[in-house]
């Protein structure tokens, strides 16, 4: 079953001086368990497309169905709840709440979902284990490296058991080694939890690890290929 269906999607930024046609008639579908990269030069519309898929921005025209729900039919407050329960987010930076520890940051999103304490605790421990940061459960973000912070962000994104996780240039601020290890963790979780990952990047080492690569250019999809990923061994 398709998790996301995008039909003839357009986004025009109607600024005071210029109109920018950032997404021009994109058609895409994503299935359960995909591990897809959106690549393209800077300004090609990657962020815009991810924001639309994430329900953070409204398309100018076209259809966007998530698990059969047309996002444009949701009221703002319903949309927030929809994001909470269906979508995980990893941003380039400022992902974590600085006053909460790594463990609390992961738990926080489940608290927003009003999950039971026991379930929250178990899931937090499980995810910390998966990202290899069990020993940092009580550390605040400021005490973690950039790579470790992004790993916690990935765990946080998965904690709510979303339908898919969107990550806009999650490795942009990381060195090569940290970037590769973040992608390894994302791939592992994608595999274990069968959750769709869609991430944008322009780092060729990261692109290599995707099973599907969608290339944008000037707001249009110019190629969409599925292939065998090259996952480096640890």
């Amino acid at each position: 079953m398709n998790v996301i269906e995008i039909r003839n999607l357009h986004k025009i930024y109607d600024g005071s001086e210029v109109k920018v046609h950032a997404v021009k008639g994109v058609n895409l579908t994503f299935e359960e368990g995909e591990f897809a990269a959106i690549v393209g030069p800077s300004g090609s519309g990657k962020t815009t497309l991810l924001n639309l898929i994430g329900g953070l921005d409204q398309p100018t025209s076209g259809e966007l169905l998530v698990g059969g729900t047309d996002l444009s039919t949701l009221k703002p407050s319903a949309l927030i709840d929809f994001r909470l329960n269906n979508i995980g987010f990893v941003f380039q930076s400022y992902n974590l709440i600085p006053v909460l520890t790594a463990g609390e940051n992961i738990e926080f999103i489940m608290a927003l979902q009003k999950k039971a304490r026991r379930e929250r605790d178990a899931r937090t421990l499980e995810l910390l284990e998966a990202i290899g940061l069990s020993d940092r459960i009580h550390s605040r973000p400021a005490k973690l490296s950039g790579g470790q912070q992004q790993r916690v962000a990935v765990a946080r994104a998965l904690a709510s058991r979303p339908k898919y996780v969107l990550a806009d240039e999650p490795t942009a601020n990381l060195d090569g080694k940290s970037a590769t290890s973040l992608l390894q963790i994302m791939e592992k979780l994608n595999h274990e939890e069968k959750i769709t990952f869609i991430f944008s990047t322009h780092d060729p080492r990261v692109v290599k690890m995707a099973r599907r690569v969608i290339t944008l250019e000037d707001g249009c999809v110019v190629s969409d290929e599925t292939r065998n990923p090259e996952i480096p061994e640890k």
């Binding site: 953070l56 927030i80 909470l84």
Partner: protein, 475 residues
């Protein structure tokens, strides 16, 4: 979870939060303590009015207040008294003879109200006997063949029974201050001279002393010079039971000092029996019965019940006799509330400013929270709680300090006697015993919370207006 995040957020910028909390604490302390000090005089004034001047309930003939003539007596006081004692709230009942008269000494006459009192009973019902100035006599204790009268200090001064005479002996004997020799020399021209008012004495001092000396020694010198002429007498004139003008000499039994100049100047007290002999009023005839209730708090319920039982006479509570006093108490409560509200309103600007900074510097974080699914209600709650924590923490510290300082000062009070003339003239004590009551404590606590809540509204709305996309833009 939101509550704990909000608390942690408060401490992200320790200095800034501590500044606001301190401002809040200092402001609340200043407000509460000032009010407690102001309240002291009101509470004392009311207590004194009841314990010294009025007691709780007055009963007299229906038109007595407009017609003070001697034969306007209370009908059947005996049976009234017996029936009054059947009310469980009533603790004591006493009767008084009340005459309008004139008090005079060699050179002065003053109109007064003469109260004929049952000495033993009034000693148990009132605290006037505690107010007799040491050295001026007693509350009718001395055995004497003369008629005796108890007068207030203010009246005694007016009638020249109390004067100001400075002597070297008095200056030596004065205990509270040691006067330097140089000062003794300076005031030597006043020795032995008689001043009939403190104003005249002070004026004479003014011409001899520097401003600094006056400030330091003016009050002690006045106290040292204060002298009571022992064995003083005065004449009281009034109409007797046949409405014939009568005069008699009275020896001053003692001089009382209260915080109410009006009362001191206009009321004199004479044992009931002496007045009966002079006027020819029969035994057990009274102009007024006065009841003391078990507690002041019973006044509002007991008085209407008593009034209903005695339709033939006038029954008044102290609140009705002195409505200004009862109003004062109510009005002060309102003034305190407004005063506190003004202080808190000023402090609210500090909180608004701090919260606004806190919101603006967290733009990205708030955007991220909205993006991952924290709804508007929770965001609003978080900002509201942060603001509430600031105000309540500061407010609680301020209240605690107030509590400690009030407890520390209420035992011995704060003595403003030096600056007190204005206060005492209005019946307020110059010796303050700070006090606040529970309703005020509760109202202030609520106002502090309200401050936190109202201060949060504007910053919280700002936080909600934030667009997650704008917030998350990295370029």
């Amino acid at each position: 979870m939101i509550a704990s995040i909000a608390w942690k957020n408060v401490w992200r910028n320790r200095t800034r939060s501590m500044t606001v909390i301190s401002a809040m604490a200092v402001g609340v302390f200043a407000g509460v303590f000032t009010i407690a000090a102001m309240n002291s005089s009101v509470v004392q004034r009311i207590e004194e009015a009841v314990d010294i001047e009025l007691s709780h309930v007055h009963i007299n003939s229906r038109d007595f207040r407009s017609d003070h003539s001697i034969n306007n007596l209370l009908p059947a006081p005996d049976s009234l008294r017996n029936r009054l004692h059947t009310f469980p709230e009533v603790e004591w009942v006493t009767g008084r003879i009340i005459l309008n008269g004139i008090a005079s000494t060699a050179n002065k006459s003053v109109g007064v109200v003469i109260n004929g009192v049952d000495v033993e009973k009034e000693k148990r019902m009132f605290r006037l006997h505690e107010k007799v100035i040491p050295g001026t006599g007693s509350y009718f204790e001395a055995k004497t063949r003369f008629n005796t009268v108890l007068v207030g200090e203010k009246l005694a001064k007016e009638l020249n029974i109390i004067r100001y005479i400075l002597t070297p002996e008095q200056m030596d004997a004065y205990e509270r201050v040691r006067f330097p020799v140089s000062l003794t020399e300076k005031v030597a021209p006043l020795f032995g001279r008689r001043f009939i008012t403190d104003k005249k004495f002070t004026a004479a001092l003014d011409s001899l002393l520097t401003a600094k000396e006056k400030r330091k020694y003016g009050y002690p010198l006045r106290e040292a010079a204060w002298s009571f002429r022992e064995g003083s007498r005065m004449v009281l004139s009034f109409l007797d039971a046949n409405e014939i003008q009568t005069s008699a000499v009275f020896r001053i039994s003692g001089v009382f000092r209260t915080n109410n100049d009006m009362f001191e100047a206009s009321s004199v007290f004479v044992p009931e029996m002496e007045l009966r002999q002079l006027t020819g009023l029969p035994v057990e005839s009274y102009h007024r019965l006065i009841c003391r209730l078990e507690e002041n708090g019973l006044t509002d319920t007991a008085v209407p019940a008593i009034r209903e039982a005695f339709p033939e006479v006038e029954v008044l509570s102290w609140k009705e006799i002195q409505p200004d006093m009862a109003m004062l108490a109510d009005m002060m409560q309102q003034i305190y509330g407004v005063f506190m509200a003004l202080i808190l309103a000023a402090l609210a600007f500090g909180i608004v400013n701090t919260m606004l900074m806190a919101v603006l510097e967290r733009t990205r974080e708030l955007g991220m929270l909205a993006a991952i699914g924290m709804n508007r209600r929770k965001t609003f709650l978080m900002i509201m709680l942060e603001s509430l924590y600031l105000s309540v923490t500061g407010g609680a510290i301020g209240m605690a300090i107030s509590g400690i300082v009030i407890a520390a000062t209420s035992r011995n009070g704060i003595n403003l006697v030096k600056y007190s003339e204005g206060l005492e003239a209005m019946g307020f004590s110059a010796h303050l015993f700070p006090v606040i009551d529970t309703p005020f404590f509760i109202i202030t606590s609520l106002l502090i919370m309200l401050t936190g809540i109202l201060s949060a509204i504007y910053p919280a709305r700002k936080a909600l207006k934030m667009n997650p996309l704008e917030a998350l833009r990295t370029d």
